[in-house]
């Protein structure tokens, strides 16, 4: 990707309510990239303002649930005078295929970007077969 392109603003997308939340506040869908190599599937999500300790990743059956909570105590007592975006928690769900090695999923958070690496199980990796 060349860096010469002008960067455009993308409005944050609010999550449609599929379940009731017990804590007040809005949820947004983080922008995500998904790519695959021979060994692993990588998920990258943008969650600005989320600290490491407030990321919650849960895997239940085939459903990967990623949630990032904003620490809104930083915003306490603030008086907004001009705004262009809203703040809120982030949540997104992904359905995984059977070829992911569930025990070895790793996560990393840098500059508000969460990277999840989902290694493939051995059986799903491509094999080279030589003709004898």
């Amino acid at each position: 990707m060349s860096g010469a392109q002008e960067l455009a603003v993308r409005q944050k997308q609010e999550m449609a309510n599929k379940e009731e939340k017990t804590i007040p506040g809005r949820y947004f869908i983080p922008a995500a990239d998904i790519f695959e190599t021979d060994e692993a599937l990588t998920l990258i999500m943008e969650m600005p303002g989320v600290e490491k300790k407030n990321v919650n990743i849960a895997l239940e059956n085939d459903l990967l649930h990623v949630e990032g909570q904003i620490d809104f105590s930083n915003y306490q007592g603030m008086d907004p005078v001009y705004t262009e975006y809203n703040v809120g928690h982030y949540a997104r769900r992904f359905t995984l295929s059977g070829k992911v090695d569930r025990d070895n999923i790793s996560a990393q958070l840098d500059d508000g970007v969460l990277t999840l690496t989902l290694p493939k199980v051995k059986e799903a990796m491509p094999r080279r077969i030589s003709v004898g």
Partner: protein, 140 residues
Amino acid sequence: MALFPDPFNTLLGLQEALDAFRTSGWLQSGPSGGGSYPPLNIIRKGDDLVLIAEVPGISKSDLDVQVKGRTIRLAGTKAVKYGENVSLHRRERLAGRFDRSVTLPVEVDADGVKAECRDGILALFLPRAEQDKPRSIKIG
């Protein structure tokens, strides 16, 4: 002065307050380019202002912040990198360069500006210039 006295409802109150000010004409989104990247919020703290922008995936070294008089300039590049030999399934994150100037309605003490960048959030603490502060006048 607390805008949201109930801590449990802090986030909800903040979100509502942010929405209400979304259309405020305080900065007159004309030449200052409302809608440019990065999106930012400006918050008042006493006499001073705090500018907060969401810059996920941009490292400190790729950010250039300049302050002159009433104008703040935010420039930089955002790179989205993928490894070699990958097949992309979904691409929602955007990359590119940005250069945005914002003109504030108050003068800022450029020497006193503090910048903080953590977890993809850039915060600029902009103290109002001493000569620009309002003075209260006693009625004799």
